[in-house]
Subunit: 111 residues, 2 copies
């Protein structure tokens, strides 16, 4: 037996969680929402709609679009998006470790 | 913004969580799976199927059926079911409190 869980941030609906975290992390790395979505097996339109929904619920912009230029534009995280990503990453890591510890305490097995 | 989460125990699939905990708690109180299911707006057949699935995944019996008699039978929790219910209840309570504390620590708001 092991513990299983889903955690997310809520603000009038799902506002941030593991999926968005992973998507932003990949945009940050590739400077491309296209590329990030592709890597996660997600359509670009779905990724774009997700970002817009999150921005609405969070109340701030996550992505800046760079248009034109030799590279054909790209996406860059706003400083708020980087902040949220870092905050969420630390929160998620601590939550995971602590939940496993609490599970072991009560059920006496390693998850 | 607030934290949201779902926690459950897994053993080849969902083996126990908030729904089953509530169902068992009500069977324990009413001595009737019929009554417990009704209180939760669940059909008896769904409740019965749920219990059988959990028993299979957990590897032990949760309910003893008492048949016949003046009261027309009823359901009683096994000692293993009572033990699991108590264990899960404590685990769940500690997990909830701790997750809220970790959220506040990282996001600085009361959930």
């Amino acid at each position: 037996m092991k513990i299983a869980y889903k955690i997310w941030l809520d603000s009038n609906g799902k506002a941030f969680g593991d999926g968005p975290y992973e998507l932003l992390r990949r945009v940050h790395k590739t400077h491309s929402l296209h590329q990030a979505a592709f890597q996660m097996g997600m359509s670009y339109s779905k990724a774009w709609y997700l970002i817009r929904t999150l921005e609405e619920r969070l109340g701030f912009v996550l992505l800046k679009r760079k248009t034109g230029g030799r590279s054909g534009g790209g996406s860059q995280l706003t400083s708020e998006a980087i902040g949220l990503m870092e905050q969420y990453g630390k929160f998620r890591k601590e939550a995971e470790g602590t939940l496993k510890t609490i599970f072991r305490k009560h059920f006496g097995k390693s998850p």
